[in-house]
Symmetry: C2
Amino acid sequence: MPVACRNCPLRRREIFAPLSDQELAFVQRFKSGELKVAPNMQLLMEGSNSPQLYTVLSGQGLRYKTLENGHRQVLNFVFPGDFLGLQAGMLGEMHHSVEATTEMVLCVFDRKEFFQIFRQYPERAYDITWLAATEEHFLGESLASIGQMAAVARMAWALQRLHARAEALGLANGDSFPMPYRQQDLADALGLSLVHTNKTLARLRDRQIASWAEGHIKIHSLTALRELAGGTDESATMTRPLI
Amino acid sequence: MPVACRNCPLRRREIFAPLSDQELAFVQRFKSGELKVAPNMQLLMEGSNSPQLYTVLSGQGLRYKTLENGHRQVLNFVFPGDFLGLQAGMLGEMHHSVEATTEMVLCVFDRKEFFQIFRQYPERAYDITWLAATEEHFLGESLASIGQMAAVARMAWALQRLHARAEALGLANGDSFPMPYRQQDLADALGLSLVHTNKTLARLRDRQIASWAEGHIKIHSLTALRELAGGTDESATMTRPLI
DNA sequence: CGTGCCGTTGAGGTAAATCAATGGCTGTGG
DNA sequence: CCACAGCCATTGATTTACCTCAACGGCACG
């Protein structure tokens, strides 16, 4: 049975902006169900105009694009609290795909209701725009990272961000946090080959900065990591709306 | 003296969605003036929380980010009709800078009014979200391009997009269109060195695909260009809101 | 016990970066 | 008017970061 929005365990996290009872009632009405998906499941497909929008309750996934030449670009790693399908909602169709990496539980919303939000709940509409603007900001960071930084720096940047997000969601355990992805995923996110990704990770391990084993990443020197990454990304820890 | 919104020359272009008289009246009220800036002028600065938002009436510019290591990533090329400062409006501060490349004329809006849009004009709020989602989509494309394509393909992709945008705005003259940027700008946009950018352009010239001279790019084979770029980007020619 | 997926490592090749030099053009000041 | 400096495009020479290819071992799964 689905969780009632006001009992949503995610909302207890302070990274998510609190909602009034009345606002919660609205979100609840918007919610049409819950969905549990298995690892490797395709949630949204590039080109589809999904009738459904999701909020991630638990689990992790990937947003990615597939190119004509067969290559894949991972756009972002999906964490609990993320809103999926905004492009389908706004632009009529998805321009990237989303797949589950671990098992995921999703909160399902009906796209038909989407347009009503702008009319009736301007604060929620504002939240949605905020999410879009934040995603835009993040992609800008990624672009700068991939376009202008060397492999080690890109890697440090990615790890530091994954760490920050995991920590903000209470998934981290000290300096260690779950890393359910494959090296190939990280490679496709950073625009590196699999082999070079592996060797870059080895360098970070050798330099005692971060190590990845058994599905977990351990940060040995956050200072050094940030140094390499060229600063901290505060947008991962910023208070954000949860819809 | 400023142009009245209903006489705005941009609105005649069919790429921009038409507004009713009433809607125009609102946009007009939102407009607080006009600004003319010289080439190389900084319009918005990373980190600033500009009190002003702009719509480009004429001229071209650049959005970019400067990294700690001194490198610059050009995020996008700015064309007439583009809305500038959305990040400052939504997130409180800009996460990239914007500068004028040619002389530009801007329509100035007051950020204080920004929040009112969501309350009072849901259709405009929707437009703003549409713009954010579209920008997000574009950055995703860029990321895929820079992350997964070789230099020639990236170049073709960029040229094809610049062409499409120029054409949609009526700036093109047959297969030729104005290119006010420097090779360094293109290099910083594509994540290539200046020298390699130059050599890549030379290859496209030798292969009779596109040539760049005297501030104009001429497309000799749009088919070949698209082939290299891996498809056409329809988002450059899609009907879009003009605020 | 095979088969397939994933991580790891080495060898060798290449695309792209860096370094360096030149020429055209523009603006400036003597 | 010319001399000079600064910016930009172009080209060649050299170096390097990253890619591709190939092979191997661990591990899960049927």
